[in-house]
Structures are given as C-alpha cells and as structure tokens.
Amino acid sequence: MYNPATAPVIQPNSEKKTEKRYLDAISDGMRQAMQKFPDLVIMGQDIAEYGGVFKATQGFVEEFGKGRVRNTPICESAIIGAAQGLAINGMKAIVEMQFADFVTCGFNQIVNNLAKTHYRWGQSVDVVVRMPTGAGVNAGPFHSQSNEAWFVHTPGLKVVYPAFPGDAKGLMASAIEDPNPVMFFEHKGLYRSIAEEVHDDYYTVEIGKARLVKEGSDVSIITYGLGVHWALEAIKETGISADLIDLRTLLPWDQDAVEKSVRKTGRVIVLHEDTLTGGIGGEIAAHIAEHCFEHLDAPVVRSASLDTPVPMNVELEWNFLPKKRFVEQLKKLLTY
C-alpha cells in the first residue's frame, strides 16, 4: 500500500535544547526541513507575509522566498491537487489547512488522489497536509472539529497527531521525510498552552510508534492529542496507577504497544476528543477485544465526545467533550 521507504531515524546533532511551545516546535520542524530540502514548498491561505492565522510560518517568506512559501487563493481542492503535482514532479509539499474543518473542501483530492496513487501506479505522493484541529476553544461547529477518523479509514494515508512539542517537531520532520501522504494533526488548543524543552537540532520521531507517557499497573489509558493531557490530569487527580499510551500516530497505529500494555493491566479505556460513533476508539477497542480477549478483566470502555457537532457556548462545549465523563468512566472501570 505505502511506499515502503520511511523517514530515516535522525538523532539531533547536539544535546542543545530550548523551551518551545507546541506551535514553535512545529514551526521549527518545518523551518529546518525547508533548509534541508530545497525542493520543499509550503502552500496555504495567508501563510506568507502574514505567517498563517496561527503564525506557524512566521518569517518563512523572508527566509525562503515567495516561490517556496506561497499564499494561495481560497481553494483547498486545487491546492492539495497541486501538492500532488509537485510530488509527481519530484518535489515535496506541505499544505496548511487554515482550519482542519476546511479540509472537507479538498476531501476528494486527499482520499482519491493522494491516498490511492502509490497503490495504483507506484508513484509516491510526498505531501504533508497540516491540520489545525480540535475543540475547547469556543469556536463553534466549523472551527473545532476532530475529523481524523475519516482519514484513518482511508488506506494509503498516514495520520499523525502529536500531543507534545518534542514529538510535534520530530514527527513533523518525519512526515516531511516520508514519501507517503501524511495528514498532520495539530491541536489548536495546545499551540500556546504547553511548552517543554525541545532539541534545537533537526531530528525525527518515528511514525507509527506510540509513547508510554506514564507507567502504571491497574489500567491502560489509550489516547492521543488533547486526550493525553486530560488523562494526565485525571491520573493526577485520582492517583490511579495507569499506563498512559499516547498513540502519536493514528494510521498505522501501534498495535504492539497497546497490546503489551493491555496484557499487563487487563483493563483498558480508550479516550478521544472526537465523537463516539464511528470514531477511532471503535477501531482500537475492537482490536483489543478481538486480540487481547483472554487478557481482559473488564470490558474495554470508550470515552468520547457526544454524537453532535461541536457547540460554541463554553458550557455546552465542555458538556460535549468527554473530559469530565472520562474521570467517572475511569473510576468505574477500576471497580469492575
């Protein structure tokens, strides 16, 4: 299905680190990749002089020029198609969706062109689509959606979703190195709210590998994105001893890491910000239920948003999101 070539494992050249916010880390990863690959082009609405609505490409046009850092007209489909054209012509492309919600206007190009071209005639589509995503920012049904599940159900794509600045930078580099089309989800709510020490040098974090954020014995929490931070809070709040797995990549996802943890704890809760029905939680829970059946001491529980659009009003929104329900579900699971 995929071009078997994957991103090389690249270690940072030095141990130098600086505190970087999630947004800065992404920006840094892109900038260093622009330096490394002279054929890499970034396209998106208002990404040039303006630096993008979230400022992820601030300063890029000055450093790399208007040829490679391109403001586009407001049209998602032709631009995603153009990214594929650049790849066919031997180049690399990053496309920034202004908000992940707007990808639906370029959906066909992604699921039918980017995703299927390598399978059909062996041409790699070396494209990264950046997806500023997620809720909790009081922005209503069209600037808050989680739509990763559609892409996880599209063979041929890779889907990446970092939860921490360090992973965000390294995964961005890998996504750009990888010759396959990568949907790169970035949670808007994390852009400026979390920071950590991140390597200054260029490095990659392997696509397809989960990360054990916390180790514990009583339950496995499988999540990604904002869910990781909710889980951290919940663990702190409840004092529960849990394995906390941040998937980091949603397609292909790290079945080994998940199975290993489940075999150890015998109890699992899958948490995501996206809505429940048909969400990725179903895939993961079903996989666990099928392949770890004999190791389960309790039903695999899913915690997810309500099956509605994302409401704007702050109270409605927090009722929609699973954060509060998750803590209850987690406690209940431990008493099963």
Partner: protein, 303 residues
C-alpha cells in the same frame, strides 16, 4: 461620490439613512463589547454597509437572502429584534442557535435569512436550491446570496453560478469585492480585471456597482430584482467596496497599506450619504443626533 435621488421622496431618503446608520452604531457597540470580552469574535462590516442595506431594502421581505459574516445590514433591515441578535452573538439562549453556533452562522425562516456556514462557498449552492423552489412554485420571488471576492476562488462559486445559469434560476449573486481575503490582496487571489468579466463565461448578465453608494446599491438591487421576478434568470452583481477594519478584530490591519484606508475612508458610505442629505437639506444635524440617540437607546435596551 455622486448621489442621484431620482424619484425617491424625502421620507424614503431619510428612511434609507436610518437603515444605514443602524448597523454602524450596532457595530461600534459590539467593538466595545468585544474589548470587554463579552463577545468572542467580530468581523467588521464597517465601510461596506451600503451593500447589505441596499440588498435588504431592495428585496421584498419574504424573499430569501443568504448573507455572509460582514452583512449585519441584511439582518437589521429585516428588523430582527436586536436582543435576539445580541443573544446569538453572545452564545446565549434567546438567540437563533441557543449557543450552538456563533455570530452570523444561523438561519431564520421568520425573517427569511439563511446564514452561511463558516466554509466559504456552500451557501451559493443552497441559494440555487431555494431559487429552484421558487421557480417550481412559480411565486416570482428572487433570492440574493453573498460571496466575498476571496471566497469566489472556491469551486462552489463556479458550480453554483453555472447551475443557476443553465436552470435560469432567479438568483442575484452578490460579490462584495473589497480587495482582500483576510491578509491576501486581490492580485494573489485572481487575475481578471473585474468580477463582471466572469459573466460572459457563464452566459450570465453581470452588473458592477459602487458598493459604497447606498442609492446606487439600493436601486440596483431593486431594479435587478424586479427584472428577475418578471424574467427568471441569475445576475452577477459586483459591488466595489473596502473593509475599513481589516479581516477581523483579532487579526489587525498591518498587512493593509495605509493609503488604502485613506483613500477608502473618503468613500465611507455613511458619511458620504449623510453629507449629501445635509447638503440637500433633507436632514439636519438635529435629525442625525436624534436618530443616533434613538438607535443607541434601542441597542442598550436590547443588550
């Protein structure tokens, strides 16, 4: 700016003035509330009011209008009680979405306004369907739908104009050409000289109007609407205008050269019309003061 009153009575001219003033004063209040954190986001239509108001006044009240995020004047000319608008913008019950969606993202059958979703473009196809319904019902109603110059690059713009042309749908496609889509100027959005150049490519009539001249916009909407009611077909209406406060309050205006603000500031739709009415002695300072006071009171009462 040249104003030609033609057959409009003094009363009509005054009424138009009040309708043009109302959205301006509401916006000024909203900008205060925004700074106070009482509303979350605001896309200013200041400088462009003559288009929305011209549309609202030019169409009949039972004809559907599909406005965008800068078209407060459509809502006010339809006399939506302000407390309902304010509740909507603050995400409170009593609005139109009960906090489920934000700002102008709602529709109301009561006032025959169908707001956009955030995505630019889809409302144009919806307008086609509404107009098709009118055509099949043979009720001789017109539908007006708005697009920005930037949003016109979306495929939906093309598909919807084409369908309307082939099906003779009674739709006015209003393009508010304000020279920018967010930070991106026209020259990075398209290459044709003007939007009316697109008409021939759809086999569609196209009309250009000074979007800052309220008598022009009002009369153009009225004239096109009358013509379409008698002879159903789509018309592309390009309104030349400018956003006086940039894209939205949070994004600043740094990316817009000062000259443009200076140039367009002189073309302000409200000031120019006010000056014309004063000069013609159709209104006086007292009239202005009275109406400003009354509208401000209305605003405060509804908050």
């Amino acid at each position: 700016m040249n104003f030609n009153r033609k057959d409009l009575s003094d009363d009509q001219l005054r009424h138009i003035y009040i309708e043009l003033l109302r959205p301006r004063l509401i916006e000024e209040k909203m900008l205060v509330l925004l700074r106070q954190g009482k509303i979350a986001k605001w896309f200013s239509g200041i400088g462009q009011e003559a288009i929305a108001v011209g549309c609202g006044l030019g169409l009949d009240k039972d004809e559907y209008i599909l406005p965008m995020h800068r078209n407060l004047g459509v809502f006010t000319t339809r006399q939506i009680p302000l407390h309902r608008l304010f509740a909507q913008w603050q995400g409170k019950p009593g609005g139109f979405t009960n906090g489920r969606d934000r700002s102008f993202h709602f529709g109301t059958q009561e006032f025959k306004i169908i707001g956009m979703i955030s995505h630019l473009g889809p409302q144009l196809g919806v307008a086609d369907g509404i107009a098709l319904g009118n055509l099949l019902k043979k009720n001789n109603q017109v539908t007006a739908v708005f697009s920005g110059d930037g949003g016109s690059s979306e495929g939906d713009f093309h598909e919807s104009l084409n369908v309307a042309a082939v099906w003779d749908l009674p739709v006015i496609f209003v393009v508010e050409n304000n020279g920018y889509g967010l930070s991106t100027p026209s020259r990075e959005q398209f290459r044709m000289k003007q939007f009316i150049d697109k008409g021939i490519g759809y086999g569609m009539e196209a009309v250009q109007v000074d979007g800052n001249n309220i008598l022009e916009t009002y009369r153009t909407f009225k004239r096109i609407a009358e013509s379409i009611r008698a002879n159903p077909r789509p018309v592309l209406l390009e309104c030349l205008t400018f956003r006086m406060r940039g894209h939205e309050e949070a994004s600043g205006t740094k990316y817009v050269p000062q000259e443009l603000f200076d140039e367009w500031g002189k073309k302000d739709p409200l000031n120019n019309y006010e000056n014309f009415l004063l000069k013609e002695k159709i209104i006086d300072e007292a009239f202005i003061a009275l109406n400003r006071r009354e509208i401000k009171q209305e605003i405060e009462k509804n908050l």
